[in-house]
Amino acid sequence: MRIGVVTFPGSLDDRDAQRAVRIAGAEPVALWHGDRELQGVDAIVLPGGFSYGDYLRAGAIAAVSPIMSEVREAAERGMPVLGICNGFQVLVEAHLLPGGLIRNANQQFVRRDQGLRVENADTAWTRDFATGEEIVIPLKNADGGYTADAETLRRIEGEGLVAFRYTGVNPNGSVNDIAGLRNERGNVVGLMPHPEHAVEPGFGPDTSRRMRSGVDGLRFFSSVIGAVAAV
């Protein structure tokens, strides 16, 4: 199984995403923003970072890069696409997910191990979780405040498109504590926190059992491997 990870100028977590794919048991494939070629991958990760230096708006310029027209077409065909942090910003700017992301309400960059509740396990990237399950993965961003107009918000909530909600504290002022979304079909998922940083014991968030042993992020990647195998 081949999972593509797109590198934009300014991507930071592309190598971490590739590593997560490898640890989960799939083959990572490096994709380049300027190409129009998906190299036959089965799923795509848009990684975190500051693509194009967050110029104009976070994710705005990456959303119109050459590879994104291919990603959009693949997503519309049903290929699993995961946007992490800046990748989530790219997905909303590309209109593959609704709403928008603005500067954190406290005006500061936030880095913390963040509690999340899985609100919807019926997606290609969350099928190995249980709906309602609580997980902890790292969060680190400046522009993570999720927002949408009242009508869009009603639709998102009404159609069960919220994939993850913050638990404990709302770190960035996101409306309804929204941390991540899915599309109607469940193949496209975006979230601000970083599952790829919680995939290997010794390098993840602290747990009650042992320091840095949290690997809740791994199931994002095992989920998509299962989803692709099931097609």
């Binding site: 700017e93 928008g100 603005i102 005006q107 927002t147 949408a148």
Partner: protein, 94 residues
């Protein structure tokens, strides 16, 4: 060369953290009379040639599609250069 100016503001109902920080800085300078500051963007598009009707339409579309994000921002003005008789390039607001 003609320059088209696109002005964009964060939506009024959304928190503008930059503006909020500047409001605080103004207050520290003794100017608490400014109850709110909001910060937007001014984008200048210089054109290599005449500003045609097609170009105007393209700018109006691109202002919505790329230069702003309608979820979080409003395009508050697009100013096209007026073709002045004396060639001085007076500005007209549209």
């Amino acid at each position: 060369m003609p320059t088209i100016v696109v002005e964009i503001m964060p939506k009024a109902e959304l928190l503008d953290p930059q503006g909020k920080a500047v409001t605080g800085a103004l207050a520290r300078l003794g100017h608490a009379e400014f109850s709110e500051v909001r910060i937007g963007k001014r984008i200048e598009l210089t054109v290599d040639g005449p500003v045609t009707e097609e170009l105007r339409a393209a700018v109006e579309r691109l202002a919505q599609e790329l230069l702003s994000n309608a979820v979080i921002e409003d395009v508050v003005a697009i100013t096209f250069p007026e073709p002045a008789l004396d060639g001085a390039g007076a500005q007209g607001v549209r």
